[in-house]
């Protein structure tokens, strides 16, 4: 039996006393790609933020085991050090801190190893080339004035530098042009080949053309109502969530 990387059981989450996640079960093994789809407001970002440890999200029940260890009471930085990464749906702008400085600080914190200036510059340059990002982004302030797509690419740059065990991509493909989606997918595949796991939240099948997801889950009104393979994504494309909902009520 493979050792599970992430093991979520009966996870219930409140925002300001309102229950948003109503009992989620999800297991992810090393090297697996999971996809979560679902209608707006279903709770996908809530799950992503909760896994990363945003203080606004209160876990009222259930467990989040990561590498066999309960992480639900850990602060976000501790989770990052264990290997959790979230690519934000809406990345924050941080004026006054350049992409390069920030990533060096971040890599130092996550890896626990001081990142030397010159080797880090090289690493950053090669990763940026992979993502077809211009050099000049390294010296720009973090996300400040970046276009929607540039912000998303910057999230993926951070992911590939930090090499997390679990990357959660919250609608990273929204706002990316078709070429950028392919480039991002290549990066995700590289991580997967390194036996790292990815949880992809998306509304579109475009990204899935390039990935080979092991599982697709439908998150609807705070619950995973169906799990399956890639065919599930096609079904959603055909019938929409309303159609799938209708199917459930018939069964």
């Amino acid at each position: 039996m493979k050792k599970k990387l992430l093991d979520i059981k009966n996870l219930k989450v409140n925002i300001e006393d309102q229950e948003i996640l109503k009992g989620i079960d999800l297991e992810i093994n090393p090297g697996e790609i999971h996809v979560i789809m679902g209608p707006n407001g279903g709770g996908k970002s809530t799950l992503a933020y909760t896994l990363m440890g945003h203080p606004r999200y209160e876990v009222t029940e259930g467990q989040i085991l990561f590498d066999g260890e309960e992480i639900k009471d850990l602060s976000p930085d501790k989770r990052a050090k264990k290997g959790v990464f979230l690519s934000f749906q809406y990345p924050e702008e941080i004026p006054g801190v350049t992409v390069e400085e920030f990533l060096r600080t971040s890599k130092t914190a996550v890896s626990g190893e001081q990142q030397k200036l010159i080797p880090f510059k090289k690493l950053l340059k090669s990763k940026m080339e992979e993502l077809e990002m211009k050099d000049e982004y390294a010296s720009r302030y973090l996300n400040l004035g970046f276009s929607g797509g540039e912000k998303k690419k910057n999230e993926i740059l951070q992911m590939s530098i930090l090499e997390p065990k679990l990357s959660i991509l919250d609608e990273t493909d929204s706002g990316l042009d078709v070429d950028a989606i392919r480039i991002v997918a290549e990066d995700v595949n590289r991580l997967q080949n390194g036996n790292r796991s990815v949880l992809v939240i998306t509304h579109y099948n475009k990204l899935l053309d390039y990935l080979k997801p092991d599982f697709v889950h439908i998150l609807l009104d705070g619950k995973i109502v169906k799990s399956g393979g890639l065919e599930l994504a096609e079904e959603i494309d055909k019938y929409g969530y309303e159609g799938i909902k209708a199917k459930f009520s018939r069964n």
């Binding site: 440890g53 945003h54 602060s75 930085d77 050090k81 990464f85 924050e92 941080i94 971040s106």
Partner: protein, 351 residues
């Protein structure tokens, strides 16, 4: 004497003492004539400093005029551009616990100079600083004055800075307030000539029970004169701060423009932060703008940084250093910039 704005019941000036240490280390690198300097030290600047330039008030400034124990007088001749900054380093200790510095700078037309004054303590005992800096910048001259204050937590720090700027002259003040128990700091710039320009950039860090009273005034008299005040601060623990920023447009200051902004990050609920912007116009055709904001560090920004492995304190430090950076970067010495950044880091990380 009472110091109401920061709730100080009484304040008495100590018996003046000597400051015998060397504080001017690099004058020889400049090509300024020492004779000129000495000649000026006897000049009374009241002759050309108008009445409205009060600094912290008569009690403070006349104490300096009477008892000053240090300071420089520089007379920069016409067309002379002094390339290297003049650096004054005051390091108070138990034998020299007082700096009462009087500095006079006169810039003849077309001249340029940069002066950095660094006030520090090397003792845990009470130290006292009361200073007065007067600048007369004539036509088309440029003067940069950078003041860095990091006295220990028991010390008192008072500083009055006055400048009068003639046509197309420029002054750039930079003020870094990191230490002291009580700080009263005043910068008054009189933009006397047409198209004269005054800029003031300052940062402060309030922690422990530090109290700061910052008063900045830009007095526009010449036409098309320009001023800009930008202040950024952090308050934590039980610190208090009063900020008073005045843009004053006198009759005749037509088409002049003044901008002031004060931004403060409040890290703890017990801090007290007052901001009193003032706009006084005797002339219609002028423009004065002020902006202010006071608040905590955005929770979502913190979460974003923490999700990349930074602890809460590291994340806060990063945001604060980023806010301070444009001001710190104006200091023309890497050594000083680094020591300021290290100090900020120390205070915020090992609070």
């Amino acid at each position: 004497m009472k110091w109401n704005r920061i709730g100080l019941e009484s304040l008495t000036f100590p018996e003046p003492k000597k400051y015998t240490k060397e504080y001017l280390s690099n004058l020889e690198i400049t090509n300024i004539n020492l004779d000129e300097i000495n000649e000026l030290s006897t000049t009374k600047l009241e002759d050309f400093m108008p009445k409205e330039a009060k600094g912290l008030g008569k009690d403070f400034t006349s104490y300096v005029e009477e008892y000053y124990n240090s300071g420089i007088s520089l007379h920069v001749p016409r067309n002379m551009k002094v390339e290297k900054p003049i650096i004054l380093d005051f390091l108070m200790d138990d034998e020299n616990p007082m700096v009462i510095d009087r500095n006079i700078l006169v810039l003849e037309p077309n001249s340029e100079i940069t002066v950095v004054i660094n006030y520090k303590t090397k003792t845990q005992g009470h130290c006292f600083h009361n200073g007065l800096t007067k600048v007369y910048a004539k036509e088309n001259s440029l003067v940069n004055i950078i003041k860095i204050q990091n006295l220990n937590d028991k010390s008192h720090n008072f500083d009055s800075n006055l400048a009068i700027i003639e046509g197309e002259g420029n002054i750039n003040w930079v003020s870094i307030e990191l230490g002291g128990n009580i700080t009263g700091s005043n910068f008054t710039t009189i933009l006397n000539g047409d198209a004269s320009q005054g800029n003031l950039s300052s940062i402060y860090l309030g922690d422990g029970d530090r109290k700061l009273d910052l008063g900045y005034s830009m007095i526009h008299k010449g036409r098309k004169s320009n001023s800009n005040i930008e202040t950024k601060g952090v308050l934590m623990d039980d610190s208090k701060k009063v900020f008073r920023g005045n843009l004053i447009f006198k009759k005749g200051a037509r088409t002049s423009k003044g901008v002031e902004g004060e931004y403060v990050i409040l890290l703890d609920p017990a801090v007290k932060s007052d901001s009193i912007p003032g706009l006084f116009c005797e002339e219609d055709d002028v423009s004065g703008e002020h902006a202010a904001s006071a608040g905590q560090i955005d929770k979502d920004k913190l979460f974003y940084l923490m999700s990349r492995g930074l602890s809460e304190r590291e994340a806060k430090k990063l945001i604060i250093q980023a806010a301070f950076r444009p001001v710190v970067d104006k200091i023309p010495s890497e050594e000083l910039r680094n020591s300021i950044n290290t100090e900020i880091e120390r205070r915020i990380i090992n609070e």
